[in-house]
Symmetry: C2
Subunit: 144 residues, 2 copies
């Protein structure tokens, strides 16, 4: 059986999990392509994910409205997103990925995953099983 951890063990575990996650994120970021800045990539992903207005994106990414406005402008100038006025509400601007924007998302994701996949493949089947379970637990924690 798994013994109940002490308070101190729980605290240490939390610290170690946080550190491990931050380090993995950092490595993935460094080892990935730099053809697009992280915050721009994040916005493209959110648009693909169903957020189609500047206000929604600003809230989701926790930046100010002017800042998001600027980022969107740059993405539009690079041909990665389109801005079309909302026919139902003239104040809104509807954002959509262009084919180039969608391709960019796929490309960057593929490169990120390549680094991680190589590392995971080198682990034992048992270690991979641990990570499989941990990924599900962490995803649940992060989504709370």
């Amino acid at each position: 059986m798994t013994p109940t951890p002490t308070r101190r063990e729980v605290s240490d575990l939390a610290i170690d999990v946080r550190l491990a996650c931050m380090r993995i994120s950092r490595r993935v970021r460094f080892e990935s392509s730099s053809e697009i800045a992280p915050h721009r990539f994040g916005v493209l992903a959110k648009i693909e994910d169903g957020l189609h207005t500047a206000t929604a994106l600003a809230e989701s990414e926790r930046v100010s409205a002017p800042s998001m406005s600027r980022t969107i402008k740059a993405l539009a100038e690079d041909g990665l997103v389109t801005r079309t006025p909302d026919p139902d509400d003239g104040r809104n601007v509807i954002l959509e990925l262009t084919p180039e924007g969608a391709a960019m998302l796929r490309r960057v994701r593929r490169r990120r995953d390549a680094w991680m996949t190589t590392r995971v493949a080198a682990l034992s089947a048992e270690e991979q099983h641990v990570l499989r379970r941990a990924a599900d637990i962490l995803a649940r924690v992060a989504a709370e």
Copy 2:
């Protein structure tokens, strides 16, 4: 026994682990204090960790020497680090944490950890055991 995963399962696992880590990192960052910028915090931590020159810090944090020089200057002006000329080599400047710098590290870490500890404490003992093992595996992967 743990069955050997297929190639596709390994790839999916890598993607899920990466995503989980990035989401946890993101949540921890958002839920933490913003009394110090992340890159400044990182430099303080590296100094505490034994890196005491601008060049070593710049390499470690993967920023340019002038950029690190600037960050260090700001940290010194805020009273978080001291800069003393190296008696053995006049080109070097030895960096040390001030008591205020060390206190800042402790304070920010405590707040970061508070968020994560609460979440980890809410998990079952068995789930905590999975995370314990996963944290060790991921730390090893990130350190490669």
